[in-house]
Symmetry: C2
Subunit: 446 residues, 2 copies
C-alpha cells in the first residue's frame, strides 16, 4: 500500500460528433437529421494501475458543446478524490453532484446538468468495475444487497419504495443468481432490433432489413411511426407480412402526439398487432400516458428514454401509465439512479426493456439489464434490450449479438471506452474528419 | 421605410454574479449559500432606433457559465432575423428554438437548454414591447385574442386546453379590461414579501422585518421552513405573534421533503395557520403534490418556481394537486410558454401567484400578472406577486412597491435591462468586483 492514497488527477472532456445525418440512420418523426454525438469524459488517476474511468452523455449533435460545458462544471467535485473511496462508494460522488446547492438550480435533476452528472457518475462506476476486474453487470450482481441499497438516493421515492423494501427485493433477487449468471454467460440477454424501422428508409430497405432481423434470430423488431398515418400503415403492413405473426413488432412515435391523437393513431395501427406503442406523447406527461394506456389496450405502452429522473418513473408506475419501462443508461444520473429505477420497476412488477442505440448506449445499458436479470428481477421474460447496429466499431469492447441475444461482456468495466483513434478523428470541430468536412464545405460554397 | 429590413445583428451574452451568499440573503432549506446570478443576453439590431432586447436566466451561482453556453448555442437561430417579423410574431422564434431537433434532445423543454430558450424569447418580447412603446403587460393586454392564441404552443396541451377554449378565455378576459388597466395604474398589483423569512436570520431580525412588512402595507408574508421542525415552529410562532391573525403567512419548504414527511411537517405547523405550503416536495412530483394537498387541507398547496414547463403545470391542474400556481418568468420557455400556463390556470380556475426575487425576477414577472389581471383572469382576488428586496438597484427600471402593491411599470419593454455599470462590475470572473475579490482571497490564503 502506498503512503499517499491514489487520487483523481484529471477529468478530461471531449466533444465527439459522428456525421450520421447523411445516411438517415436514426431518423424518426421528431429527429429528422441526428448527428449522433457524445459529450465524453475520462477520469485519470495516479494509482499507476493503468485504469481510467470513461463515461459520456449521448446527444444528437448541436448542443453537444453545452453538454461538455456542463461536465466541465462538475470537475471541481471530482478532482482530487481518493480513488479507493470513490470506487468503494460511488454513491458519495453521486450525492455530492446531485446535491450541489447551486448547480441544483439548473434542474433540479433534469436536462443538461443531470445528464452531465450521469456521465461523470458512470465514469466512476467504469473505473470501479475495472479496478475490481469485473464487467459492471457482475460487479453489481456480486455486491451485497445492503451496499446496493446504500448506493440509491431514496429522496422523493419513499411514498413508493422504502430502503427496507429495496433491501428485501435485492435479497430475494440473490436467490439463484449464480445459476442465472451461468445462463447469461451461455445464452446472453434477448435483444430486439430497430435497424429496419427508421423513417426515410425505402420499403425495399425495410423489407430487406426486417427479413434479415428474423434470419438473425430476433424475435422483436421496431418501426418508427408518427409522421404520416397512411405511410405508417403501409410500412407496418410490409413489416408484418415479412416477419409473420409470431415476431413482435413494436412501434415508436418519439413523442410526436398529443394524448387524443396518440389514441386515435395507435388504434388505427392496431390491425397490424403492434406489441407496444413507445413514446406516444411527451415524456413529462404521466397522466397522459395513463390515459393513453387505458384507451389503447391490449397494445402496451412503453416509455423512458427521455424520462428525466427516478421521480417521473415513480409516478409512471404509481399511475399505472406504462406496461414497459425503458431505462436509458446515459440520461438520468448514472448507475446510482438507474439502480433506483430498476428497484422501482421490480417493486411494481413492470418489465424493463432498455432504450439503446445512439453512440455507445447499447454498450452501457446491457450491463444494467444483465444485473437486473441475475440479481434483481430474476427473469428475462418479456425483457428485451434495444439493439441498433450503429457506431459500435468506435468502442474498444463493442457489444456482441448472437442469435438475437446480447452476449454478456466479460471485460472489466462498463464497456464505455471509445477507441482513441475515433476520439481523435471525430472530435468537433478540430478532429481530422471535421476539419476535412469543413474545408470541403467551404470549397463547395466557393 | 428603409430599403433593407432591419436585422438582429448581435446576440451578446454575459455571466453576471452577485456575491449574495455572504449575507445569507436568499438562504433556504435547499439553497444555503446562493450567489444570485444572471446568464444575461442582449439582442442588438441595425434598426437605428436605439432599442435592444434584454433577457436572462436567473441562477444561484455555479453553473451560470453553463447557462451562458446554452444561450450561445441558440445564437445561430437568432442572428440575422428580420426585426419587424420577430417583433410581430415572437412565437416563430419560440417554436424554432423549442423545435430544434438536435437541441431538443438535451431536454426536451426542461433544464438548462429550456431556460436558455426562455432568456432569448423574453429578450425578443422586451424588444417588441420597446419598439411598440409599451410596457410588456400593456403590449399583451392590448393584443388581439386571436394573435395571443397564435403565440401559444398547444403541443401536449390539447387534452386539457384547446386553442378554441383559449380564445374564448381571452375574449372573455377582454370585457372590462380598460377599467382594470386604469385600476392597475392607480393601485398596482398586490405583493407579498419573503424578506423577513429567510433561514439564518435571527429571531430579532425576523421580528423586525415582519413588523416592517405589516407597517409597509403587506397583507401576506412568507417564511422558509424545512430544515428543523422545532426551529420552524419557533419562527412561525414569532412571526404570527408579530403580524397578528389577519396577515396571511405562507411557508416554503423549497422541495425539502418526501411526500409523507411533507404531510407530517405541514400538519405540525398548522397551529400557526399557514396560508400555503410552498414546494413541499420535488417539483416533478405531480402525484405527490396531489397526495399532500388532500392530506394538509385547509392549508393550501403552492408550487411552480421550479416546474419545468407547461406540460407539468397541465398535470398539476388536471390532478387537482395545487391551490396556487406559481409561475416564474425565467424558468420556462419565456413569455409564450407563460401565456400557455396563464391560460391553463384560467381554465382550471386556479389563482396565479408568481415566484419572484432572485435577480430581476420581480421586474419580469410583474408584467405577466398584470396582463393576467387586466385581460385574462380579470381579478386580483387571492393573487399576490412575491416581492423580495434584493438587487433591484442593478436595473434601469426597478420595481416600485407602494402600500404592499407593485406599481404598474409605464416604461416600454419587459423591465429587464440591467445597468451597464452593474454588468461591468459583476461580470464573472473578469468584472471589477470579482477581480478584487479573487485578489483578496489570494492574499488571505498567502
Amino acid at each position: 500500500m502506498s503512503a499517499t492514497p491514489a487520487r483523481i488527477t484529471a477529468v478530461d472532456t471531449y466533444d465527439i460528433r459522428f456525421p450520421t445525418s447523411r445516411e438517415l440512420d436514426g431518423s424518426d418523426a421528431m429527429n429528422p437529421d441526428p448527428d449522433y454525438s457524445a459529450a465524453y469524459v475520462v477520469l485519470h488517476t495516479d494509482a499507476g494501475d493503468g485504469h481510467e474511468g470513461h463515461g459520456f452523455t449521448f446527444t444528437i449533435g448541436r448542443g453537444n458543446d453545452v453538454q461538455v460545458a456542463a461536465i466541465d462544471a462538475l470537475r471541481p467535485h471530482v478532482l482530487g478524490r481518493d480513488v479507493e473511496e470513490l470506487c468503494g462508494d460511488p454513491g458519495v460522488l453521486s450525492r455530492d453532484l446531485v446535491g450541489d446547492s447551486q448547480l441544483r438550480w439548473l434542474g433540479p435533476e433534469k436536462g443538461v446538468m443531470h445528464m452531465a452528472i450521469g456521465a461523470v457518475v458512470n465514469a466512476a462506476w467504469d473505473l470501479a468495475a475495472k479496478r475490481a476486474h469485473k464487467p459492471l453487470w457482475q460487479f453489481l450482481a456480486d455486491a451485497e444487497p445492503e451496499w446496493l441499497v446504500s448506493q440509491v438516493d431514496f429522496r422523493y421515492l419513499t411514498d413508493a419504495l422504502t430502503p427496507d423494501e429495496a433491501l428485501e427485493l435485492l435479497r430475494r433477487g440473490r436467490e439463484g443468481s449464480h445459476a442465472r449468471a451461468a445462463d447469461l454467460l451461455r445464452r446472453g440477454f434477448p435483444a430486439y432490433t430497430t435497424s429496419p424501422g427508421w423513417l426515410g428508409y425505402s420499403d425495399e430497405k425495410l423489407t430487406r432489413l426486417a427479413a434479415q432481423a428474423v434470419a438473425d434470430g430476433f424475435t422483436q423488431i421496431k418501426l418508427k411511426v408518427g409522421a404520416d398515418l397512411a405511410d405508417d400503415a403501409r410500412r407496418c403492413r410490409v413489416a408484418r407480412s415479412v416477419v409473420g405473426p409470431d415476431v413482435r413488432m413494436a412501434v415508436d412515435a418519439n413523442q410526436r402526439w398529443d394524448v387524443d391523437e396518440a389514441i386515435t393513431w395507435t388504434r388505427a395501427l392496431a390491425e397490424f398487432d403492434p406489441y407496444w406503442i413507445e413514446e406516444p406523447t411527451s415524456p413529462d406527461d404521466v397522466l397522459g400516458h395513463a390515459a393513453i394506456r387505458k384507451a389503447v389496450a391490449p397494445v402496451k405502452v412503453a416509455t423512458g428514454e427521455h424520462v428525466q429522473n427516478r421521480i417521473v418513473f415513480k409516478q409512471l408506475l404509481q399511475a399505472g401509465a406504462i406496461d414497459v419501462l425503458q431505462i436509458d443508461a446515459a440520461r438520468v444520473g448514472g448507475v446510482n439512479e438507474n439502480l433506483a429505477i430498476l428497484l422501482l420497476a421490480a417493486k411494481f412488477g413492470v418489465p424493463v426493456c432498455p432504450h439503446a442505440g445512439g453512440v455507445g448506449l447499447c454498450e452501457l445499458v446491457q450491463h444494467l439489464s444483465m444485473f437486473d436479470y441475475v440479481a434483481l428481477s430474476g427473469t428475462t421474460e418479456d425483457r428485451v434490450i434495444e439493439y441498433v447496429d450503429h457506431l459500435h466499431e468506435h468502442f474498444l469492447e463493442p457489444v456482441v449479438i448472437r442469435e438475437g441475444h446480447y452476449q454478456a461482456p466479460t471485460a472489466p468495466g462498463f464497456s464505455a471506452t471509445m477507441r482513441p483513434e475515433s476520439i481523435a478523428e471525430y472530435t468537433y470541430p478540430g478532429g481530422a474528419f471535421w476539419v476535412a468536412d469543413l474545408s470541403q464545405r467551404k470549397e463547395a460554397a466557393a
